[in-house]
Structure formats: structure tokens, C-alpha cells
């Protein structure tokens, strides 16, 4: 039997009382991919997972698994399994019985159950723990049991609800790679809910960034990091500097007029003259020079240098008192605090985002830079 495991969400709406938690969600999860639902708490990511699992009811919309509509099915009739955040192991059963539970519920034969439970136990490296009670195990071990209990059923889709948050940092980092390995080994769809952007970037084939009940952007970790579709995504994934600007079209480029000076970027998104935009530049894409670079005039002063392990960070104060972040690998030369610098960037490193209807600054005035240039 061919394993598929595509999940399609069509026009999903969900309310908790008057609270509209998911808004017209349309979204497809491809078979066999590791997809992360990433967002701040309360953005609706866990609700999506619970809707797919059947633990919540939809207010409107449809959910499909491959070609079959599943949103009206009881949870126990859906061919998918969930790894819960708090593990939810059955406290009155030992490890073996916990893992065998799903197979017993399907009335499989003893031999088949035994073979598959042992296989699952070895997959999560818990050999020798069969007779342990959950209360005698550490968080990481319980986590493995809950994963084994889910994958033993060989469903084509596995839902994981922030499974690593309860673990300590070191274990969390190890488990990231183990989960990734397991997913590749099983070849099934993983839908992974997390609020940890680093976790999502390291593990996922694709990430869906969520905010306020909507999906802001879906893409590979690389796409999301390098080409954030909105200011929210840019700020949520890694650090960034956002400049509010008025655009002027100049051929294939944009000239940006900002409170802190002028700058340039590529016009990929079809911005028109006098449109208000946000320009996002990652701290590692910020460049500094001693004299203005063509197309840029953003003077500033280095106000602080911070050493943080493999990176050095600097804070640069601009003329409008806005502070921006600048990072370099340790060892490269960073200007001393107090140095006057000109900020610029490679035009393709700037992400231009249209500000959707709301204009943050109604007027961005031309700043008199003459005092700084002397």
C-alpha cells in the first residue's frame, strides 16, 4: 500500500466563543514533508493541529486527508496520530503496554503487536525499558515513549504539538535531529507545532508562519528567512532591522526616503511611486563604510559593541535616534563605539514589504543631514 499523507485545509474558520481563532485558512501539506506551524502563542497553530486530529470541531471549512474528507470523522477513525506536549502517557501501563495500546485498539494479533512494538522501541532507542512505568522515567524518555506510541500505528501523518518544549536545552537540540532522522526514515508527513523559530528552521522542509489566526507565509526555511513576506515574519524569524520609507521608482530599483536618510533596494514586488513601504535588512546584511556609498546616505554612530560567542554585535544609532543591529562573525573588524559610520547594504539583501493599508508615519520628512556630514 502506498503511503501518502497529504492534508488539505479548505477555508477553515474556528471560533472559541466570540474569539475568531482561525480565519479563512486555506493551506496544503504535502505528503511526506516535515512541515512546521510556527507562530507566537495564541496564533492558532495548536488549534489547527487539534482540528486535523479531530479533537476540536470546525465552525466552517473542510479538511481532507489525501482524497478523503475527514473533518466529520471521530478522532479514532482518522488515520493519523498525535504526540502530545505533556506526553499524555497512560500512567497505569508500562512502556510496552503504552506503545501497544493503539495496536490493541485495532484488534491486531499478539505476534504482530509484539513485532511492531519491538520495532518502534528500537526506533526510539528504548530497548530494555519495556517494563518501566512512566512515573519512573525522565522527560526525555517519556517523550520517546510517546513518539513510539504514535509511530507504531504506521499512520501516514504524525502530528506533534510542541513536543520538545518541556525538555532541557541540550536534550531539545539532540531530539531535533532525532525527530528529523525518524521522519526521513519513516517517510511520513510530520506536522510540527512550535513557537521556537530556531527549531522550525533546523528541522523543517517547509514552515508556515502564523499570526493572529492567519498564515502569513509558507515556504522553505531559506525562503522565509531571506524573503519574509511581511514585517511580522521578518521580525519573528531571526533578528531584523525595519526601516519605514516612502518609495520612488527608478528603473528596476527603488529609492527610499526614510527618517534616517536615503537608501536603495530592488523593486521586485511592483511598488509604485510614493508608496509607503517597510524595508527589512538582517543584521548580518548591514554594511558599514566611512564615506557614503552610492545610492545610500544613512549616517550613524556606533553606540555599543557586544561580544556573544561566535558573533559580534554592534548597535548603531541613526540620526532619528533609531537603533539598528549589526552582526559579524567574531574576529572580523568591528568599529569602536563612538565611530561615525555610513550604513548601507547590498540592494538584493533588502526585503521590501508593502504596508497593508496602514501607514505608520503619515509624513516622513526630509532630514537635514548636513550637520552629520561635516
Amino acid at each position: 500500500m502506498e503511503k501518502k499523507g497529504a492534508i488539505t485545509l479548505k477555508n477553515i474558520n474556528k471560533y472559541y466563543g466570540k474569539n475568531h481563532v482561525l480565519k479563512d485558512l486555506d493551506f496544503e501539506i504535502r505528503p511526506g514533508e516535515f512541515l512546521s506551524l510556527l507562530g507566537p502563542s495564541g496564533c492558532g497553530k495548536t488549534t489547527i493541529l487539534r482540528l486535523i486530529a479531530g479533537l476540536e470541531y470546525l465552525d466552517s471549512g473542510e479538511i481532507y486527508m489525501d482524497e478523503d474528507r475527514i473533518d466529520r470523522l471521530e478522532p479514532y477513525k482518522r488515520n493519523l496520530n498525535t504526540v502530545f506536549q505533556n506526553y499524555a502517557l497512560f500512567p497505569h501501563m508500562d512502556v510496552y503496554k503504552n506503545i501497544a495500546y493503539g495496536l490493541k485498539a485495532k484488534w491486531l494479533g499478539h505476534k504482530e503487536i509484539d513485532r511492531r512494538v519491538k520495532e518502534a522501541i528500537s526506533m526510539v532507542k528504548l530497548e530494555g525499558f519495556e517494563k518501566r512505568q512512566p512515573s519512573q522515567m525522565s522527560g526525555g524518555q517519556k517523550q520517546r515513549v510517546s513518539i513510539a506510541r504514535a509511530i507504531v500505528n504506521q499512520a501516514p501523518v504524525l502530528l506533534l504539538d510542541e513536543p520538545l518544549t518541556a525538555l532541557d536545552l541540550k536534550l531539545r537540540k539532540e531530539m531535533r535531529f532525532e525527530l528529523r532522522r525518524l521522519q526521513k526514515q519513516l517517510g511520513i508527513t510530520f506536522i510540527f507545532v512550535t513557537h521556537d523559530q530556531e527549531e522550525a528552521i533546523v528541522m523543517s522542509d517547509r514552515i508556515a508562519v502564523m499570526n493572529g489566526g492567519r498564515i502569513e507565509q509558507v515556504g522553505t526555511p531559506e525562503e522565509i528567512y531571506s524573503h519574509p513576506a511581511s514585517q511580522f515574519v521578518a521580525e519573528f524569524i531571526g533578528e531584523t532591522n525595519v526601516f519605514e520609507a516612502v518609495a520612488a521608482v527608478d528603473g528596476s530599483e527603488l529609492r527610499l526616503r526614510m527618517e534616517s536618510g536615503t537608501a536603495s533596494a530592488l523593486n521586485i514586488k511592483g511598488v509604485s511611486d510614493n508608496e509607503f513601504v517597510n524595508c527589512s535588512v538582517r543584521p548580518d546584511a548591514i554594511r558599514l563604510s566611512e564615506t557614503p556609498v552610492e545610492g545610500f546616505n544613512i549616517p550613524g554612530v556606533v553606540s555599543e559593541c557586544i561580544f556573544s560567542g561566535s558573533f559580534e554585535k554592534a548597535i548603531i544609532r541613526l540620526v532619528n535616534d533609531k537603533e539598528i543591529k549589526y552582526t559579524r562573525l567574531s574576529g572580523s573588524k568591528i568599529p569602536e563605539p563612538g565611530t561615525k559610520v555610513y550604513v548601507y547594504w547590498d540592494k538584493c539583501d533588502a526585503e521590501i514589504m508593502k504596508t497593508e493599508g496602514h501607514i505608520v508615519h503619515s509624513q516622513i520628512e526630509e532630514v537635514d543631514l548636513s550637520a552629520w556630514n561635516n
Binding site: 479514532y76 505533556n86 499524555a88 497512560f90 495500546y101 485498539a105 506510541r149
Partner: protein
């Protein structure tokens, strides 16, 4: 190391001792007199004897009422468990409007004076045509025992991680499988504890029984009747035995609840 008590500490200790004596001295006296050779309750005791226990066992009417009481207690408790446990589970599992109000209403029978419960059950049973007697008493006891079983089991269920229920469904288990393999094993001691408590409550119940019994006599009603024709030490003897059984049941019930709450 010398201990010094302040005036207020001494006062608290004295009050505590008084309270304790007030609660338990009568109980001690009853047990003591059940072994007294003298038929008249008097102190000091004139000697030690077991004859009142012998007399008690020879009193066929008393033993019959004890048997009636046990029958009512066990059937009533059994029915209360059979209705109360699934009822509590339904309240726990389902979300419905008015759930909060229902949670408060189910403990009402426990709070209501027995006389109110007795009269309401009596008028209801008359309405549906059940005559006073053994059957009516069993129904009455079942009703008020539900008020103890349901809240106790419900409280235990609410301590249960809701994800266990969801995990079971997620792993492909239907409602009955989930109930018998995941829920029941995790609440079984509180069910047993509720049953023990119900049996003890049923055994010493007077007001509800009084309205419903007709000629069917339970032990507390029999004892009540016996005291009106003069207090015999047999009553002390049977009270001591009931006391022993009740204390044992309560201790077991508490131990079980404490064990499961971990």
C-alpha cells in the same frame, strides 16, 4: 532542650482537647458500656461481659433489620455506582450549556436535609405508583447515594489529564475501549472509596428511610424504636460493631483516595 508555651498556645491546646473529648467521649462510653455486666448504664463498670453481644445476636428482629440494612446498602450502592460513574464520566467528557450549573446541582442532595429528600422522594414515588416498602427504600437510598458517588467520581475525573482521553481516541480507541482501558483503571480506587462511603452512609440513614419504609425495618429504624422502650445494652453492642465497621470503611476509603491522588 526546654519547651516554653505561651499563654495563648496553652489555651489552644486546652480547647483542642475539650473539642476532642466532646466528639469522642460519648463514643468511648458506648463501647465501654457494651462490655458492662450491669444492665443499667452506670460508672464505674461492675464487670466485663460479652453477654450483650450474645443477646444481640439472639435478637432475631434486630438481626433481620441488620440484614435488611445490608441488602439496602449493597443494592443501593451498586445502583448508585452503576448510574453515578457513567454519569460523572458523561459530565466530564461532554461539553454542553449549563454544565457549571449541573456541577453544583448534583451535590445538592448531599447538602439538603434528609427530611426534604425523604418527602420529595416519597411524593414522587407515590406519583409513579411505587408503594412504601423495601423497593421504595432501595430507590430512595440510590437517589441520595448518587449525590455522594457522582461528585466524588467527578472530582477524581477532573484531576485526570484530559489528554489521556484524547490520546486514547487518537490511537484509535472508541468510547467504550477508552472508558474501560484508560479511564476506569485511573479512577477505580475513587470508585471503590465512593462505594465504601455509600455503604456506611446507607447503613445509618434514618430520615429518607423513615418516609419510605412502611413495614420494612432497617437497623437504624429498629434501634430508634428499641430506645423508646428503654435503653438496653444490646444497643451499645450493635452500635460498637457498626462503629468498628464504619471506621474501617472510612480508613480504607481515605487510604485509597490518597494513594490515587499521587
Amino acid at each position: 532542650m526546654s519547651k516554653k508555651f505561651s499563654g495563648s498556645t496553652v489555651l489552644v491546646i486546652i480547647l483542642a482537647v475539650c473539642g476532642f473529648l466532646f466528639l469522642y467521649l460519648p463514643v468511648v462510653v458506648v463501647v465501654m458500656y457494651s462490655f458492662n455486666t450491669d444492665a443499667i448504664s452506670s460508672f464505674p463498670m461492675s464487670g466485663f461481659t460479652l453477654k450483650w453481644y450474645k443477646a444481640m445476636f439472639a435478637n432475631t428482629e434486630l438481626i433481620k433489620s441488620l440484614r435488611n440494612s445490608l441488602i439496602v446498602a449493597f443494592i443501593g450502592t451498586g445502583l448508585a455506582i452503576l448510574i453515578g460513574v457513567p454519569g460523572a464520566y458523561g459530565m466530564y467528557k461532554l461539553k454542553f450549556p449549563g454544565k457549571k450549573a449541573l456541577e453544583k446541582m448534583v451535590i445538592l442532595p448531599m447538602m439538603l436535609p434528609g427530611i426534604i429528600t425523604g418527602i420529595t422522594i416519597l411524593s414522587f414515588l407515590q406519583l409513579v405508583g411505587v408503594v412504601q416498602g423495601a423497593f421504595a427504600v432501595v430507590l430512595g437510598h440510590t437517589t441520595f447515594l448518587l449525590g455522594t458517588v457522582l461528585p466524588q467520581v467527578y472530582t477524581r475525573l477532573r484531576q485526570l489529564d484530559r489528554n489521556l482521553l484524547e490520546a486514547s481516541q487518537d490511537l484509535g480507541a472508541g468510547g467504550a475501549q477508552t472508558f474501560f482501558h484508560v479511564i476506569l483503571p485511573n479512577i477505580k480506587t475513587s470508585v471503590f472509596g465512593a462505594a465504601l462511603l455509600s455503604i456506611t452512609l446507607s447503613l445509618d440513614e434514618i430520615p429518607v428511610t423513615f418516609f419510605l419504609n412502611g413495614v420494612f425495618t432497617t437497623l437504624p429504624i429498629k434501634i430508634y424504636g428499641m430506645t423508646r422502650n428503654g435503653f438496653t445494652p444490646e444497643i451499645n453492642a450493635i452500635c460498637s460493631l457498626i462503629l468498628l465497621a464504619s471506621v474501617a470503611a472510612v480508613i480504607i476509603s481515605n487510604k485509597l483516595s490518597a494513594k490515587e491522588a499521587v
